[in-house]
Structure formats: structure tokens, C-alpha cells
């Protein structure tokens, strides 16, 4: 993620309520009614499941924690964060993308590790499995051959990723083809909008940022930091495209990080950050709220306690991810 320097005029319509008391503001849109930053600073991270959402594909987890340093410093750390370098076990490969993505930016994919999840992706590619999330046109481009990522399979996926990354850079999620290779059409942009509509308080809190991004709409006025990753999603490697946006008012800060494409596992993910400057024991610190949201077909298959268990697993993963972020600063 890169720090976005915004025109002053933009701030007039996207002002973060810097004057509000952080704890009250946090309570106004999150599930955390009462937080004591001083107490929270002594603990690792507080996580909770988000509000129930009517769409069975959706799941959300909210977290709150305190980090030392100002919001600007922490936003800068977030921007530069590379999960692979910090031992994120579920991310096999990570690469940043230029504003106009080219195939060469995905060259690392050719040297992907040869592990069981990657082999599962290769196997799915060779069969052009219905589990792959592609458009019909994209799927038709697979002409067979060696599906290994170091061979024709890698070329195929580099073509898919380059096309989608270019589409997003020029026209946001609205410019992306749907996942319709194996069933009814699903659009990542619709899923992102659905996740936000299901949580109106969060949508309102971040509207100033989100309305200027390419997430759930055409290309926004903010320039995204683009990247791609090879990720382990439930023992199957998936290729994902991500975009990050952030803004810093000089006091409070907001950021959003989204996977707007994935070859499987989930349709779209959204991670939102709200940061406030707080003083803890005389030290300049940041109170961070983080909301993780995911839309996935497999979630719709879960019911009752299975869904609770899935939420708990997601809460644990988020807590671990935050712990790595805090210790890696």
C-alpha cells in the first residue's frame, strides 16, 4: 500500500470525524461498545464476530487493538507490509503490481512452490474444474497441456491475472467479467457491495473512502496499490488479485484492502482499517479497528454451529495475522 496524497478539496467531502472521541466513534459503527485503550494496550487483540448478515455467503469478523506510534506511522507500515516476508503461512507468493499491470509482473508465478495445495490448483487447471472461478471466455482460453505453474498452466493463469488486473486498474470491479464458467454469474463487485450493504454502519463510516475507490464500482478517483498473491485457501492454492487504498487526515486514518479476484475459495474479501491517535500512558499510540469480511460459496454450505466454528476459525486467523503485524513493526 502506498500513502495517497489527496487534494485538499477531496477532504471537504470525505472528512474523517477527527474531532470525535475515538471510543465513542468506535462504538457508533462497530460491535465494540466499550473499549478502554489503556487496558487494550496491555492485551494482544480483541476480536468478535460481526453482526449477523442475511446472505449466507457472507461472514465478518471485527478486531480492535492498540499499536505504538501514530496512525500515520502505522498506516505506513501497513502500506509496506509483505505477508510472505513476515512468515504468513497461508501466502505462498506475493507480488506488487504497477499501475498498468503487465504479464512480466506475474513472472514469479512460474517458480511457485510444489506443495499439495499448489498441486491441487494444477490438477483443477488441467481439468478446468468447475471449482475454478473464471469467466466462460477465460476458461475457453485453456487449450490443455502441462497445467503446472512452471509450464502452460502458469501461462494460462498469468494471462487471466493480467487481464483482470488491467480491467480493475482501468474500470474498477465494474470492468471485471463475472465468475460464470461453471454456473450462474457471480460478480466480485456485487459481492463487495453486498458485504457493505449488510453492515450499513460500517458502510457509512467508510463511505468517504470507499466511494472514491474502484471497489464495487468503476475506477475511483483514488489510485490503488495493486498486488497479487498465491494463497492457501482450505488446502487448495488460489490466485488472488488485491487492491489497497488509504487516506490519512493528519490525525485519523482509514484504509481498505480487498481481494477483487480469486481463482477459488472465496468470491471477494474486504478488510477495513480505522485508526485513531490515542495517548496510552503518555505514549503516542494508535487505536486500530479492523473489519474482515468475506464472501464465499462454501460459507453458504455451512449452518448453525458449523458457521459459528467457521467464524471462530476466522477470528483466530485474524488475531494471528494482527499479532504478526504488531510484532513485525
Amino acid at each position: 500500500m502506498r500513502l495517497i496524497i489527496l487534494p485538499v478539496a477531496l477532504w471537504a467531502v470525505t472528512t474523517i470525524s477527527a474531532s470525535a472521541d475515538p471510543v465513542s466513534e468506535l462504538a457508533s459503527f462497530s460491535v465494540f461498545d466499550k473499549i478502554d485503550p489503556a487496558q487494550l494496550a496491555k492485551n494482544d487483540v480483541k476480536t468478535a464476530h460481526g453482526p449477523p448478515m442475511s446472505n449466507p455467503r457472507f461472514l465478518s469478523v471485527q478486531s480492535v487493538f492498540v499499536m505504538s506510534g501514530s496512525p500515520a506511522q502505522n498506516l505506513d507500515t501497513l502500506r509496506k507490509w509483505n505477508p510472505v516476508q513476515h512468515g504468513e503461512p497461508k501466502v505462498f507468493l506475493h507480488g506488487d503490481l504497477p499501475a498498468s499491470p503487465t504479464e512480466s509482473a506475474f513472472a514469479k508465478l512460474k517458480s511457485a512452490p510444489n506443495n499439495a495445495p499448489v498441486r491441487a490448483l494444477v490438477n483443477a487447471t488441467s481439468k478446468m474444474s468447475n471449482d475454478l472461478q473464471l469467466s466462460k471466455d477465460e476458461a475457453a482460453r485453456w487449450k490443455g497441456g502441462d497445467a503446472a505453474l512452471s509450464a502452460a498452466g502458469g501461462d494460462f493463469w498469468i494471462g487471466v491475472l493480467t487481464g483482470r488486473a488491467r480491467g480493475f486498474a482501468s474500470g474498477g470491479t465494474s470492468a471485471l467479467p463475472p465468475y460464470d464458467h461453471a454456473g450462474s454469474a457471480v460478480r466480485a463487485g456485487d459481492e463487495i457491495n453486498g458485504l457493505l450493504r449488510a453492515q450499513p454502519k460500517i458502510q457509512k463510516q467508510f463511505s468517504g473512502l470507499l466511494d472514491n475507490t474502484g471497489l464495487g464500482r468503476g475506477a475511483g478517483s483514488l489510485k490503488p496499490d495493486l498486488y497479487w498473491e498465491l494463497v492457501n485457501a482450505d488446502n487448495v492454492a488460489v490466485l488472488s488479485l488485491g487492491a489497497s487504498y488509504s487516506r490519512d487526515s493528519g490525525g485519523n486514518a482509514q484504509a481498505v484492502d480487498a481481494f477483487y479476484y480469486s481463482s477459488g475459495g472465496y468470491y471477494a474479501t474486504l478488510t477495513l482499517y480505522q485508526m485513531w491517535p490515542v495517548n496510552v500512558n503518555g505514549q503516542s499510540s494508535t487505536l486500530v479497528w479492523r473489519g474482515d469480511m468475506v464472501s464465499s460459496a462454501s460459507l453458504a454450505e455451512l449452518h448453525g454451529v458449523e458457521k459459528l466454528g467457521s467464524e471462530s476459525a476466522m477470528m483466530k486467523e485474524v488475531a494471528k495475522s494482527i499479532a504478526r503485524f504488531r510484532s513485525g513493526r
Partner: protein, 290 residues
């Protein structure tokens, strides 16, 4: 046949409910299960009860609405054991009709808790106006060590049982992408995910329920002390089967195997019929959630 027609009625109820109510407002889970156990023998000392078969019918329908505390579990379950006795001092039918009242909740990001009571009538044969009420309940926790490993620990409480409180537990471990060891009582299994819609398994089923027989059961059977007595019926099944997900909300489960253990225990009257010979069994079930 009564149980089969009841099955069909409940199946129809499930289908109608599914169509009437929006899934999101009224999420629910259901199961309709029928097991047939072949001819077997039990004995109490020199007294043998030979060559009787068994039918076990289970119907369950539970609404699982999401609330802020977790997931409520509100519904009912019905179970009927029918035994083909020619003449025996044992009840030909054991029935339970119970409400299901419970909740699954998160205590933390690692611990899930289930509290569930099944208040209802557990009797020799259900009759309107019966007062043979019992309310067994379970309190169990799941510790989510990782998405692939979970530990389960809990207790079951039943005041009609010989041992009122019994502990239980186990582990659920996905040790390979397609293999899951679900070693949690009462239905431990080793599962292999053949495909997204088909799971094969081998496993067991430990069943134990307490029923109270009628006021005249003992007199009618020639053992007066069994009037209004508590009978603990238990059985163990071991077999292999498959679970086929036909649609998002409907799965077919079929299983076959052997029943190596069965016990009719009027423990307060100190009268027990132990299994002398086991029998093969077959089970078919429809289940799902929406």
C-alpha cells in the same frame, strides 16, 4: 408402517417449511433416519429372548436462528425403537418425543459452547396425557485449536440414568485434505471426502436412552417390580457408509454394519438383558440444513 408414514409427514413438513419461510429468517436442520437391525438374542441368566429384530426411527427438526448470543436450537425430536419380540418381559416399543431447546455460542475465538436440553416424554409407548417426563441435557465445549484440529469435551446429565452425569469428548482432526478423524462420541468416524458431494466413512454409533415403562408393565410381564420402572436401553453399531449431498439442503446417508452390543437394563430393579448374539443392520437417512 406407522413410523414410515410419520417419516413421510415430517418430510413433507420439511419441504413445505423450506418453501414457505425464507432460508435466512428460518434456518433449520433436519434428519429422518430409519435403521433395521436383524434378528438377535439377549439373555438374563437362563432367560433368553431370541430372534427378535429391531426398527429404530429418528426424526429431528431444529430451527437454528442466529441471535446476538449465538445460534439458537429450537425444535423437536422423535425416536422410536420397535422390537419384534414374540413373548418377552421387555417392552416392544420405546418412544421419546422431546422438544429441543438449546444454544450454540462463542465463548472466545477458540471456544464454542453448546447447551441443549431435550425435555419430553420418554416412555414405553407414548400416550396423550402421559406424565412420564424427563429432561436430559448436555453441556459441551469445542476448543478450536486450528481449522484442522478441534477438541471436544462435555457432560451429559440425565437424572433417570444410573450415573446421572457422564463425561464425554474427543477430537476432530483433518489430518489430510480428504481425510478427517472425527473421534467424538456418540458417533465417531473416520471420513474420506471422495468428492465435494460424497463422503465415505467407517465408524460407530453409541446409543443410550432412558425410558420409563408403564404402571402396569411389570404386572403384565410377571415381574411386578418393573411397574413404572426406568429402563436404560443401549446399543452400539459399527459400520461403513456414505453421505451423498444431493442438493444444498438434502443429503442421503446410507450405512450398513454390525451391532455387537445391546443391553436392556432395569438398573433400579437389578434386571438386565445382555446381548448374546449380535446382528447386521442397515440404515438410511435423509438430512440437511437450510
Amino acid at each position: 408402517m406407522r413410523s414410515v408414514s410419520f417419516c413421510l409427514c415430517v418430510c413433507a413438513l420439511v419441504l413445505v417449511t423450506r418453501n414457505i419461510f425464507a432460508f435466512d429468517l428460518w434456518p433449520a436442520e433436519y434428519s429422518l433416519e430409519e435403521t433395521y437391525v436383524g434378528e438377535a438374542t439377549v439373555a438374563r441368566g437362563p432367560h433368553r429372548v431370541s430372534d427378535f429384530d429391531e426398527s429404530d426411527t429418528v426424526l429431528r427438526y431444529i430451527l437454528t436462528p442466529r441471535v446476538s448470543l449465538g445460534v439458537l436450537r429450537l425444535g423437536f425430536e422423535y425416536e422410536q425403537f420397535s422390537f419384534g419380540f414374540d413373548s418377552a418381559p421387555l417392552p416392544e416399543t420405546l418412544q421419546s418425543v422431546a422438544a429441543v431447546v438449546g444454544i450454540d455460542t462463542q465463548l472466545s475465538d477458540s471456544i464454542l459452547l453448546r447447551i441443549e436440553a431435550t425435555p419430553g416424554v420418554y416412555s414405553e409407548q407414548f400416550k396423550a396425557g402421559t406424565t412420564l417426563f424427563n429432561m436430559p441435557f448436555v453441556i459441551g465445549g469445542t476448543y478450536i485449536y486450528s481449522p484442522d484440529v478441534q477438541f471436544v469435551l462435555g457432560i451429559g446429565v440425565d437424572v433417570e440414568r444410573k450415573y446421572t452425569v457422564l463425561p464425554g469428548g474427543g477430537i476432530r482432526w483433518r489430518f489430510q485434505p480428504q481425510w478427517v478423524l472425527d473421534a467424538v462420541a456418540p458417533t465417531p468416524r473416520l471420513e474420506y471426502e471422495w468428492s465435494k458431494s460424497l463422503t465415505l466413512y467407517v465408524g460407530g454409533n453409541f446409543k443410550e436412552t432412558n425410558f420409563r415403562v408403564s404402571d402396569t408393565f411389570g404386572t403384565d410381564s410377571g415381574i411386578p417390580k418393573l411397574n413404572h420402572a426406568v429402563l436404560t436401553y443401549s446399543e452400539v453399531r459399527a459400520g461403513a457408509g456414505f453421505d451423498w449431498k444431493i442438493t444444498r439442503w438434502l443429503s442421503l446417508n446410507a450405512e450398513a454394519g454390525y451391532q455387537p452390543y445391546r443391553n436392556f437394563d432395569f438398573y433400579r430393579a437389578n434386571i438386565r438383558y445382555h446381548q448374546q448374539s449380535g446382528a447386521p443392520y442397515g440404515m438410511l437417512a435423509l438430512h440437511g440444513a437450510f
